[in-house]
Symmetry: C2
């Protein structure tokens, strides 16, 4: 895999993947960069440039093979790994994520839920029983969890991250509004909903 | 306001704002770009460059006045507008957003909830009564809604966006995994949780 791919390009790959998935559902065999661009509001030049970063897809004047391109982008994104997620913190956001349907279509599955709140332990959310967060190691091992999803309050997030990593997860998806310290071998993605909202506010304030 | 500010810079402004808010809570008067950088894992050079885009903040060798910089970034982001949000679609995600505590600290408030599901209409979520989505115009006007938040399924999202805009909202925050067509006068931000997760997958797949 080539190094030095920009974050912006990586961010667009899931958009390409999803659009190709929809095109495949429509039984489309071939798609042009123009049509991909129209569906995504991205210029065809940008799309051709992004895809060229990873190799030679598509044929000039014809377009991309929908199935082949989808499979290739999926591989680049590591989706065939079919990562297994555990959500720690089954509050409103954790519960919403447990129910978020798009994950399974991308090859992610939520396999475990944990919370330290004893009144939640044992209840069921979207078919999964909430486990006691103190049993982290056992739950992560038993469910072969790859990714830990942190949806606890900010002041509890570092402790949860440490426990998840000690239990053997390979990546962290953090929703708590705080900076986490993790070993450089553990990929970490911070999700911050206030960024989108602030960006909207910024654009609404421009005349 | 200057034109041509990169999206990446705009994306960092809420991070600066939140970090300054925490620093203000700690009674810190002055903060250096080094300290801001340490707290955010961003280089001090990047921070000085970002802030210089908007004007002359801070004094060389001393640092930034925490309160002043926070106020200024807040103004750039349009936060003093104290935008009023209506959430359309009170499922798991809509319910989670209605409860998302960070919004109020940034000056956003959720003032109305709407859903077309009659069994939800009249129920209360986080102190707000769910309104019938067919009463969009009246609810938006009565609550002086600025921003419409779309958390309905993809195939209903365009209809909801049209109704929100007809009812007079000034911006759209879309969580439905679909491309919306809105007039160029209406700022639109699409939120896509699968991007963060796919990015994590990508990094976990690199050796």
């Amino acid at each position: 895999m080539k190094k030095g791919i920009s974050q912006a390009t990586i961010d667009r790959l899931p958009l390409y993947f999803r659009t190709l998935q929809l095109a495949a559902d429509e039984q489309l065999q071939i798609i042009s960069s123009d049509e991909l661009g129209r569906r995504l509001d991205i210029t065809p030049e940008q799309i051709r440039k992004d895809l060229a970063t990873f190799g030679q897809f598509g044929r000039k004047g014809i377009g991309y093979d929908v199935h082949e391109l989808k499979e290739n982008i999926g591989k680049i994104l590591g989706l065939p790994n079919r990562w297994r997620l555990a959500i720690v913190g089954v509050g409103h956001l954790g519960g919403a994520l447990a129910n978020y349907v798009n994950f399974s279509s991308l090859g992610f599955s939520v396999v475990a839920l944990l919370d330290k709140n004893k009144s939640l332990v044992g209840t069921r959310v979207n078919g999964l029983t909430v486990n006691d967060a103190s049993k982290m190691k056992r739950v992560v091992a038993a469910n072969e969890v790859d990714i830990g999803v942190i949806t606890v309050p900010a002041d509890e997030a570092q402790g949860v991250a440490d426990a998840l990593i000690a239990a053997g997860v390979k990546g962290i998806w953090n929703f708590a509004p705080t900076k986490l310290n993790v070993p450089s071998t553990i990929p970490l993605v911070n999700e911050d909903l206030s960024i989108g909202l602030s960006t909207l506010s910024y654009h609404m304030s421009q005349e």
